[in-house]
Symmetry: C2
Subunit: 336 residues, 2 copies
Amino acid sequence: MNRQWQLARRPEAEPTVDDFRLVSLDIPEPREAGEVLVRNRLLSLDPYMRWRMNDAKSYARPVGIGEVMVGATVGEIVRSNDPSFVPGDLVLAGGGWQDYAVVRSEALRKIDAAAASETAYLGVLGGPGFTAYAGLMKIGEPRPGETVVVGAATGPVGSLVVQLAKAAGCRAVAIAGGAEKCRLAVEKFGADAAVDHRDPDLAAKLAIACPRGIDVYFENIGGRVLDAVIPLLNPFARVPVCGLISQYNGLEQRSDATPLAQLMQDTLVKRLLVRGFIVTDYNAYRDEFLALVAPKVKSGAIVSLEDVVEGLANAPSAFLGLLKGLNKGKLIIRID
Amino acid sequence: MNRQWQLARRPEAEPTVDDFRLVSLDIPEPREAGEVLVRNRLLSLDPYMRWRMNDAKSYARPVGIGEVMVGATVGEIVRSNDPSFVPGDLVLAGGGWQDYAVVRSEALRKIDAAAASETAYLGVLGGPGFTAYAGLMKIGEPRPGETVVVGAATGPVGSLVVQLAKAAGCRAVAIAGGAEKCRLAVEKFGADAAVDHRDPDLAAKLAIACPRGIDVYFENIGGRVLDAVIPLLNPFARVPVCGLISQYNGLEQRSDATPLAQLMQDTLVKRLLVRGFIVTDYNAYRDEFLALVAPKVKSGAIVSLEDVVEGLANAPSAFLGLLKGLNKGKLIIRID
């Protein structure tokens, strides 16, 4: 038989064990070409699963009521309709919370148990490890001497962020829950400092731990940790938004959902890019701009509005009108 | 004599003409090598000046009390201690709100009055035009068929954003204040639709104007326009943050300053990059990741923590513990 944990109902906020239901089903059969039967040996549990329990539009569809809970697994091929997988092969699969799964072979990756432990393929070499790598290296782009801050720093994502940040020559500051995890972050993973997110003085402690500000904040928490981080961000800081575990128990329902929390959730779900800029940062493109636009202005292909006000004496009143939106085009004082 | 508008005092919120003071000073003299005396002919007035009137840390230092108000000017060289500039040359300068300025010659750009009008060098070919170009093309990266939304759309920045967006093959949606500006945005600048930001139904009207959502939001307003934009942002949308005119009259003092308003101000001032990501977006880097990290895991150079829980029956309770932060490492169920 196939034991399977299904979603029994949607949690209102914090989930309970009654939100899950264990059922026994027949072992499924691979039927079509490319389908294989996997016997799950290891199941990864990850925070994102909480989000999938909500009936909310996101980057992945929610788990339906009565459907098997999703999850990454390490398993063994039992039966195969794909000649490149044979019984006994070890694979990384999305097998879910159950003993057996029928999956499409293109969704599988073979794993080499000689190269690393089976469990590593669900952690440091699996989705969490790769999440740390992609977010830190491809978005955060840490440079030597910079300060990298990461939350849940003893977790599978955060602990690799800390180590990759150190390998990149950065100061790594860990945020974790409780003294024991803070100690681990420093002693086992090599963080330069660790701050307890439960500390009532979180903001002050984080400021002390980041004497040169924060250049990369690897966001996986949200809430008051983000609030403490924002004032410390340096110019040109990068904030890869990976997760928002403090918000997973139901942003929609909470009356204290702030527009900021909503923006951060959207930033994650929709992979938004938000970037401030001051035009002088782009001076290298100024000649390109003039070469492209000036001829079009001359030809009339690009038009512009100008509000020219006569007399330096009128500068303040014209400026106040500008702030009120009274003018339509570029406001210019012709100095008399 | 040199008539000069100085900052007389810092405005509390909305500035008044009494915040400025007109004084008459001697015409200054260029003394050191590289200094030139410019007679200002045109002065540009721009919203950023309101921000400089505040005593707030930002990307540029505030105007001091009793100091000349800053601003871009088109002027004529009167006297020169730099052989590459001769009296009569027309230049783009940061001459400020006054008749004459002594400036360093490396801060000047000669302008060609035959190529475009003198006023254009303060508008569509000056800082505002280049701001539109840099923000839209270098950050927004508009692609054909996408929807670009910009506020203050008849202003010198917004009107060029609209035209560049159209030239890039995008749907351009203008936000402007009042029916007259909305008409201008469509008829003069070619926007596909225009929405009045004073409309009480702003959010609904914007949604109608953007039937395929928003791919690029060129942010120069903040406040309720941003609130209306956020729900319409498509996955992978880009939001270059150029300005926040709705916040310039004093975010610090306002009791309704939200964390979101603060984040957007910081995003601008500090040129932050905020980008959400889902790890599968980066699948092209997965082999690179494994090649780099797997040997270090094997050698022990990279360490990880694993919390392995025995038995599929324990999946829900282990998962609930994960959400409460009870585990330290990667949580894995060994399926019995």
